[in-house]
């Protein structure tokens, strides 16, 4: 625990020293001290941007989680359905959403709804693909067992396929957690609202750049990173709570 902290502190000191010694102008690289002093001054602004983007990313993440798992369940029901639609779910991953953004703007207009939708689209494929893979990769003997037990389709889905898929669903959700924040930031640069106090982190970054307000831009970048980290941590904690007890990657030594 101590060593990483030491690296952090010395890097910050080095940064401060370089900026002061070489007289780097603050519109290129602000010093850590300058940024720290800026935090209380612009705290409210920063918080409001964080809340807006956080809410948008959360909306995109939750939507992609629900829709992605539902689509995965749908795919797992029949190989025929899977053959018809699964390639497109994979293909969706390779569509640059940025390229589609103007169209989303056209349909949904400027503002949060478009941002949430872009965030949702960017996070969705990872959830679909990982959920589907998890649902269909059940060992044949377990399927035999349920067949001999005369299990109904819901029993098969909820007592076998879904719990078996949970570890892969979490892989998808972890990717989606990061992607949804990226999606919200990118979405805002296209569709962010410009109303006073209503701009999220992405929109504020563009604005700060146009004003050459680099110290604030750095603060925005750090806040964005923090948001991504929080999302990632939340999914990891949820994973430990649900599959931590039994899944191979998370279980320690066996007892006895």
């Amino acid at each position: 625990m101590r060593l990483p902290l030491l690296t952090f502190v010395s890097s910050v000191c080095l940064w401060q020293a370089v900026v002061v010694l070489f007289k780097v102008p603050d519109y290129l690289v602000p010093s850590p001290v300058q940024m720290a002093l800026l935090i209380p001054e612009r705290f409210r602004e920063l918080c409001s941007a964080l809340l807006i983007t956080g809410a948008e990313a959360l909306g995109g993440f939750l939507a992609s989680g629900c829709v992605g798992v539902a689509v995965g369940l749908f795919f797992s029901v029949s190989p025929l359905i899977r053959r018809c639609f699964y390639p497109y779910a994979v293909l969706l991953q390779s569509i640059p959403i940025i390229a589609v953004s103007p169209l989303i703007l056209l349909w949904l207009g400027n503002g949060s709804l478009s941002v949430v939708f872009i965030s949702f689209l960017i996070s969705l494929p990872a959830v679909i693909v990982n959920t589907t893979q998890g649902l269909i990769s059940v060992e044949p003997h377990l399927l035999d067992l349920f067949r001999m037990g005369n299990a109904s389709l819901p029993t098969l889905l909820f007592k076998l396929r879904l719990p078996h898929a949970l570890p892969s669903i979490f892989v998808g959700l972890r990717i989606a957690a990061g992607a949804s924040v990226v999606g919200a930031l990118v979405g805002e640069t296209f569709a962010g609202s410009s109303a006073v106090g209503a701009g999220g982190l992405g929109y504020s970054s563009i604005y700060a750049l146009s004003q050459l307000d680099t110290p604030y831009l750095f603060l925005l970048i750090m806040t964005s990173s923090l948001l991504g980290l929080v999302f990632f941590a939340a999914v990891t904690i949820a994973e430990r709570q649900t599959v931590g007890k039994w899944h191979a990657s998370l279980v320690g030594e066996w007892r006895e």
Binding site: L142, D144, K159, A248, R255
Partner: protein, 251 residues
């Protein structure tokens, strides 16, 4: 005694015309322990899966207690080559799965689970997850799940083949003791000649390409068998006889 499992003129071909079993007839009496022994690819596992109703037959007939397999499914339990446990369920909950399939009321389950875990020597690990158990213990859980529904017929597909020899021998002895007590009609697929001789009343030797029955050998070792039997001349000479018969049919 009447046959509990009767198979007549059974053939099986896959859609790609590969014939796995041709014109096979065999039966097992009620309470009899029959081992199926033969080279890989001779259709032993396929035969077992067809009896369990897990794989369709191409022609011929399988009767289980006078019924087609699909109707007799409640009489049978299948033990797979791997333990086939649900890793997210504890030992007790894994055993409970079989009772859920049977529709046994929740209130009646705990006593039955406790009794069967006691039977296979797993009384103290009911709350453990499969991950936390050794291979042999996991197989015991699998066995407990098969037994908790009090089946009349046991279909076992190389259940102990992944275990080390010590665990395997111990489980063989325990299975035999249970078999004497409960008198299941058991079909046991194995690669091990010694295992087959030790457990069985009769050994059915199967040949490959396509799968068929080559010879049936009675094992008249009596009912009371224990670990010491493995070094007795009668046992060893039977193992020798089965080995020779098996070698004679191997290509």
């Amino acid at each position: 005694m009447r046959p509990c499992i009767a198979i007549a003129n059974l053939s099986k071909a896959y859609p790609n015309d590969k014939e796995v079993i041709r014109d096979l007839s065999v039966s097992a009496m009620a309470g009899e322990f029959v081992s199926l022994l033969g080279a890989s690819g001779c259709g032993k596992s396929t035969l077992l899966r067809m009896i369990a109703g897990l794989s369709p037959i191409s022609s011929g007939a399988i009767l289980v207690d006078g019924m087609i397999p699909k109707d007799a499914i409640k009489l049978m339990s299948f033990v797979f080559q791997d333990p086939a446990l649900l890793p997210w369920r504890s030992v007790a909950r894994n055993v409970e799965l079989a009772l859920e399939f049977e529709g046994v009321p929740v209130a009646l389950r705990p006593s039955r689970i406790a009794a069967v875990l006691n039977l296979v020597g797993l009384r103290d690990v009911d709350a453990y997850y499969p991950r936390e158990l050794s291979g042999g213990m996991r197989m015991r859980v699998s066995l407990a799940r098969a037994l908790v529904t009090t089946p009349r017929i046991l279909l076992m597909d190389e259940p102990f083949s992944a275990l080390d020899e010590m665990s395997r021998n111990r489980l063989n002895e325990e299975l035999l003791a249970l078999q004497e007590q409960h008198r299941w009609t058991t079909l046991f697929v194995t690669h091990s000649i010694a295992e087959a001789v030790f457990l069985s009343n009769r050994i059915v030797l199967m040949g490959a390409n396509p799968g068929r029955i080559v010879q049936e050998i009675d094992i008249p070792l009596g009912a009371r068998r224990n670990a010491a039997l493995r070094s007795e001349p009668a046992f060893l000479s039977l193992v020798g006889r089965v080995s020779e018969a098996l070698a004679a049919i191997s290509p």
